[in-house]
Symmetry: C2
Subunit: 341 residues, 2 copies
C-alpha cells in the first residue's frame, strides 16, 4: 500500500509496467450521457463542436471533472480527418457522405492536403495544458478499412452492401483507397502526437464484417503500416476492433502495445491469443443499466479476468447516451478500489 503510484498509471500499464490497480477510461466518455455535453449541443452542431478547439477541449475535459478517470480522449470523430482528402461529410446525426466513392476514378481523384485537421491539434494542446501529468491524453483515428466502409457506403449501414460489393468487384481500386487512407492516418496521428497525445487508439469499428482472409488482405497490412509508422514517437498504441473474435490471431500481429477487446470476448481467452499485449476492456455498455450489485460483480469478474498481464479497464464499446451517471460513478469507484495482486 506504501508503493509510490506510477507517474502516469494509464501509460505505464499500456507499456506493460502496470501498478496496483487497473486504470480506467471509457469509450465515448465525452458525450451525450452528460447533461453538460447536451447543453453545449443545444447551441452548436456536431461539426462546430469538433472543429472549434476551445469547444472540443471543453467537451474532452467534462468527464474528467465528474469522475477521477485515468485518461482523457480528445473529442472528435473518426470521419473528421477525411476533409483533408476533399470529402464532404455531414452528421445527420450519423456520418453521411454527399458523394459516396464508388468508382476507381473517384478514388484516384482524392488528393491529400498537407494539413490534416489542425484544429484537432489545437484542441489537444489546450487539453494537455489543462491536465495534470498523472492523466494521460489519448488521440485517435479510424482504421482505413472502417473509413473505407463509410466512404463507399455513404454512411452507416447494417450490411454495408455497397462497400462489400465494391471490395469484391474492384479489389485493386479498394487497395488504392486504403493506401490513401493510410497515408492520411499516419499524417493525422503524428500531428496528434506532436500536439500532446501520449497514446493513440486506432478504431476499427467495422473490421468484424470481414472474414480472416479478407481482413489479412485489406485490413491488417494498413493497420500495421500506420502503427509501425508511429513507433519512433514513443506514443502508446492501442488497436480496437469490434466483433472481431474471429480475427484475433491476425490482430496479435499488429504493432500495438494494447488491444481493445469488445464485450463479447472473454478477457482471459483474449490474453492467451494476444501474447505480450496489454488488454483494454470490456464491460458490456448495457450492464450500466443493471442494479448496482450486478455492476459491481461484473466489474470484479472482468478485473479478475484481466489479471495475468496488463489491463486497462474500459467498456467493451462506447457508452450509451441514456446511461445513468451514477452508474458510471459507481463503476469508476469499483474499478479503482480493486487491488491487483
Amino acid at each position: 500500500m506504501a508503493e509510490t503510484p506510477a507517474l502516469n498509471l494509464f501509460l505505464e500499464t499500456v507499456r506493460g509496467h502496470g501498478g496496483r490497480r487497473a486504470p480506467i477510461w471509457i469509450m465515448r466518455q465525452a458525450g451525450r450521457y452528460l447533461p453538460e455535453y447536451r447543453k453545449i449541443k443545444e447551441c452548436a452542431s456536431f461539426l462546430e463542436m469538433t472543429h472549434d478547439p476551445a469547444l472540443a477541449a471543453e467537451i474532452t475535459l467534462q468527464p474528467l471533472r465528474r469522475f477521477p478517470l485515468d485518461a482523457a480522449i480528445i473529442f472528435s470523430d473518426i470521419m473528421t480527418p477525411l476533409e483533408a482528402l476533399g470529402v464532404e461529410i455531414a452528421f445527420t446525426p450519423g456520418p453521411s457522405i454527399a458523394e459516396p466513392l464508388r468508382s476507381r476514378a473517384a478514388i484516384e481523384a482524392l488528393a491529400l492536403r498537407d494539413e490534416v485537421a489542425p484544429f484537432v491539434g489545437a484542441a489537444l494542446r489546450i487539453v494537455r495544458a489543462a491536465l495534470t501529468q498523472d492523466i494521460a491524453l489519448i488521440g485517435f483515428a479510424g482504421a482505413p478499412l472502417t473509413l473505407a466502409a463509410y466512404l463507399v457506403e455513404g454512411g452507416g449501414s447494417k450490411e454495408y452492401e455497397h462497400f462489400r460489393r465494391f471490395l469484391r468487384s474492384e479489389p485493386a481500386a479498394m487497395h488504392v483507397l486504403l493506401e490513401k487512407l493510410t497515408d492520411l492516418s499516419i499524417r493525422y496521428l503524428r500531428m496528434q502526437i506532436a500536439s500532446g497525445a501520449q497514446a493513440i487508439q486506432l478504431f476499427d469499428s467495422w473490421a468484424g464484417l470481414h472474414d480472416l482472409q479478407t481482413y489479412r488482405e485489406f485490413g491488417l497490412p494498413y493497420n500495421a503500416r500506420i502503427l509501425a509508422a508511429l513507433a519512433d514517437t514513443g506514443a502508446a498504441r492501442i488497436y480496437f476492433a469490434l466483433g472481431a473474435a474471429h480475427l484475433i490471431d491476425a490482430i496479435a500481429e499488429i504493432p500495438a502495445e494494447a488491444v481493445g477487446v469488445d464485450w463479447r470476448t472473454d478477457l482471459a481467452a483474449a490474453r492467451a491469443r494476444l501474447p505480450g499485449k496489454a488488454l483494454q476492456g470490456n464491460l458490456d455498455p448495457a450492464l450500466l443499466f443493471a442494479d448496482r450489485s450486478t455492476i459491481t460483480a461484473e466489474a470484479h469478474s472482468i478485473l479478475d479476468q484481466g489479471r495475468g498481464g496488463s489491463h486497462v479497464f474500459n467498456l467493451g464499446h462506447g457508452i450509451w447516451p441514456t446511461t445513468p451517471i451514477d452508474a458510471v460513478a459507481h463503476l469508476v469507484e469499483t474499478v479503482q478500489a480493486y487491488a491487483r495482486p
Copy 2:
C-alpha cells in the same frame, strides 16, 4: 461414379450420411434478386405475400425453377408467427412493432393462441405436393432471443439499446418473454413439420450481440428446448446464428443435426469445435459480385474446408437483392460439379 444417388441428398447429408457431392441451397433464395419475385411484389405487400398460401408457395418454388437447388425453404419471415401472441407487426420494409414490449406487464399480457400461422402450413402443403422427393422442404422460425430483440426494440437496430438495456434491468421479465416465445416456436415448428417440412432451421440472427455468459443464460436454454421438443418428429434440425464465432462452444451443445456457419468463420475451424454436427455454409454473399474465376475459387475453397464431415453448401448469410442471377447459376453449377473424396 456408379453410386446410387441418395433419395434426398440434403436430408441424408444433414443426418450425416452424405453422398458424392455437397447439396446446396441459398438463404433467402426466394426473394428480391429474382425478377419474377419483384413482379409479384409490384402487386402484393410483404404481408400479403406471406399470408396467402398460394402466393407464398409460388414464391418458394420460383428459385427451384431457375436453379437445380437441393432444397426449398418456405417463403415467410421470422416475425410471422408473432401474430399468434397478439403482436402487431408492419414491414416498412423491415419489421416494425407498433407497441414495443418494454414492461413486465406488456409481456405478461401476451397470450398464445391455439393456432399459429396456419397459412404457413397451407403453403408448405402446396409446395411439398409440387416438389419431387429428391428436393427437401425446409421450414423455419426465429430463435427466442432474436425475436425478443425485435419485440423490445420495436424493429431492427444497429445496437439494440432498448433491448439490451431491458435484458439487464429486467432479467426476470426477459425470461418470461423468452418462455412464451419458446412455447410459440415449438407449436409453430411442429405445425410446419406436420404440414410437410422435412427440415427446420432456427434463425438466431442477433445471437452475436451477446457475450457467452449472457447467451448461456438467455439464448442457449431456449434454443435447446425448442429443438429437443422436435426430436420425436424426425425432422432434420439446423441452427444458424450470425456473428457468433465467440459462442461456438455453447452452440456445440444445441440438439441440432446441423449448424449454419456465417461467412466469417472458417469451416475447418468450426468443424473442430462442432463435433458430430453437419456444417452448412458459408460463402460471403458479397463474393457473388466478384468475377467468375474468383467465385469458382472461393466455392472450391469452402468445399475443400467442408471435407472431413457432412457439409451442406450455402451462403454465409442471406443473398443480397442486387446479386446477379448468372453468378448464382454459376455458383450452383460449381458446387454441384465438385466431387467429394
